[in-house]
C-alpha cells in the first residue's frame, strides 16, 4: 500500500532503534494507516470512541503515577508505575515529548497483563494508534475496553 511522504516519515520514526529499542510497529508488517483503520473500526463496533478509551487509560495512569511506584488498585486491576527519567517524542512530530516509564496493570486473579506508557494515552487519544501487534505496549482495543470496564 502506498504511503504519502508524511506517512513514510512517521513510519520511519516508528522503526526499531529510532525512538525506542523495539519501535512502535516491530514485526507488524501492515501499513500504518491500515493498523489505525482496523483498530478504529474495532473500537467503533463496540460502540465506543478512542476518546473514551484514552480517558479511562489516563485515569489509571494518573492513579499509578500518584503512587510513585507503589501498587494501586484501579477498577479490579492492580497498577504499578515503573518510573524512568527522560522523555520520548511522539512519532507524529509536533505533539511534544512525553515522560518515559511504564504502567503495568495486572489482574489479582492472575491472567492478563497490560502495559502502557504516558505516550500510549496520547497516541490513542490523538492518533487512534494502539501500536503494532507484538510490541510491548500494544493494547488490543477490545481487551482494553474490557479491562477498563467499558464493555
Amino acid at each position: 500500500m502506498k504511503q504519502t511522504p508524511q506517512e513514510q516519515q512517521i513510519a520511519a520514526r516508528m522503526a526499531p532503534g529510532v525512538l525506542s529499542r523495539e519501535g512502535f510497529l516491530d514485526g507488524d508488517r501492515r501499513a500504518l494507516a491500515e493498523i489505525i483503520d482496523t483498530d478504529r473500526s474495532a473500537v467503533e463496533s463496540a460502540g465506543l470512541t478512542g476518546e473514551q478509551l484514552a480517558d479511562g487509560l489516563e485515569a489509571v495512569l494518573k492513579a499509578a503515577m500518584a503512587a510513585m511506584g507503589r501498587e494501586v488498585a484501579v477498577g479490579g486491576w492492580t497498577a504499578r508505575y515503573r518510573e524512568a527519567m527522560g522523555r520520548i517524542p511522539c512519532p507524529w512530530g509536533g505533539c511534544g515529548v512525553f515522560p518515559k516509564g511504564e504502567v503495568e496493570m495486572t489482574q489479582p486473579t492472575g491472567g492478563g497483563v497490560l502495559r502502557f506508557t504516558p505516550l500510549s494515552v496520547h497516541l490513542i487519544r490523538r492518533h487512534s494508534f494502539y501500536q503494532g501487534r507484538g510490541t510491548r505496549y500494544r493494547l488490543e482495543p477490545l481487551v482494553l475496553a474490557r479491562a477498563l470496564g467499558m464493555i
Binding site: 500500500m1 502506498k2 504511503q3 504519502t4 511522504p5 508524511q6 501499513a31 494507516a33 491500515e34 483503520d37 473500526s41 463496533s45
Partner: protein, 210 residues
C-alpha cells in the same frame, strides 16, 4: 470564388484532423486513464485520503506524464522506428526514460525551488512506478501521435488522473464521518466510489468522436 473555396478547404481540413484540444479533452475526460482504463490505481487509492497530498501528487503526475510522453514519442519515431526496433524495445526503453526523467526532475526541482520541492517534489519517488504514466506513453503510440500530439495527450492523461484523484479526495473527505460497513472500509469503499465515478465519466464519451 477562390477565396471562398480556400476557406472552405481549410475548414474541411480542420474538421478532419483531430485538433490538439480534442486530443487533450479526450485524454482527460472521455478516455480518462484512471476511470476508463483503470491505470495508476495504487497510489490513487492510498494518497486520496488527504486533499493536500492528492493535489501535490496529481500535479507531479501531470508534469511527468506530459514530459515523458513527449520524450517517448521522440524516442519512438526518431530512434526506434528508423532502426526497426520499435516492437521489441519500446516497453523497456519507455520505462527507462520514465525512471530517469523522474530522478532528474526531482534533482532539478530541489535545486530550483524549495517551495515547489516541498509541495510537489516529495511525491516524485512515488510516481516512478505509477503505471498510468507508462500507459499514457503506450496508448499514445497506439494512436500514432507525434511529439507535439504526444505532449498534449500526455498532459491530458495527467490532468485526467489528477482530476480523478482530487475528486476522490473530495468525496472521501465528505464521507469521513459516514458509517461504512467494517468489511468495506478503506480500499473496499474507495473502489466502489471509483466505480460510480467511472460510470459518471462514461456519460462524457458521447461528446467527442475520436
Amino acid at each position: 470564388m477562390t477565396a471562398g473555396a480556400s476557406i472552405l478547404a481549410q475548414i474541411t481540413v480542420a474538421q478532419q484532423a483531430p485538433g490538439l484540444m480534442a486530443i487533450f479533452f479526450a485524454a482527460a475526460i472521455t478516455d480518462n486513464i484512471l476511470l476508463t482504463r483503470f491505470l495508476g490505481m495504487c497510489s490513487y487509492l492510498s494518497i486520496s485520503r488527504q486533499m493536500k497530498s492528492a493535489v501535490g501528487l496529481g500535479a507531479a503526475v501531470v508534469v511527468v506524464t506530459a514530459c515523458t510522453a513527449a520524450l517517448n514519442a521522440a524516442l519512438y519515431w526518431h530512434v526506434l522506428k528508423p532502426l526497426g526496433l520499435e516492437v521489441s524495445l519500446q516497453l523497456i526503453l519507455f520505462i527507462i526514460v520514465i525512471a530517469a526523467f523522474v530522478q532528474l526532475l526531482e534533482m532539478i526541482v530541489e535545486r530550483v525551488s524549495l517551495t515547489l520541492y516541498f509541495s510537489l517534489g516529495v511525491f516524485l519517488p512515488l510516481i516512478t512506478v505509477n503505471c498510468a504514466i507508462l500507459g499514457a506513453s503506450l496508448f499514445m503510440i497506439n494512436k500514432d501521435y507525434q511529439v507535439v500530439e504526444g505532449l498534449v495527450y500526455g498532459a491530458g492523461a495527467g490532468v485526467g488522473w489528477m482530476l480523478a484523484i482530487v475528486l476522490l479526495a473530495g468525496i472521501r473527505y465528505r464521507l469521513r464521518n459516514a458509517k461504512i460497513p467494517a468489511a468495506l472500509e478503506g480500499p473496499g469503499i474507495t473502489l466502489i466510489i471509483s466505480g460510480i465515478m467511472a460510470l459518471a465519466f462514461i456519460g462524457f464519451s458521447g461528446l467527442i468522436k475520436s
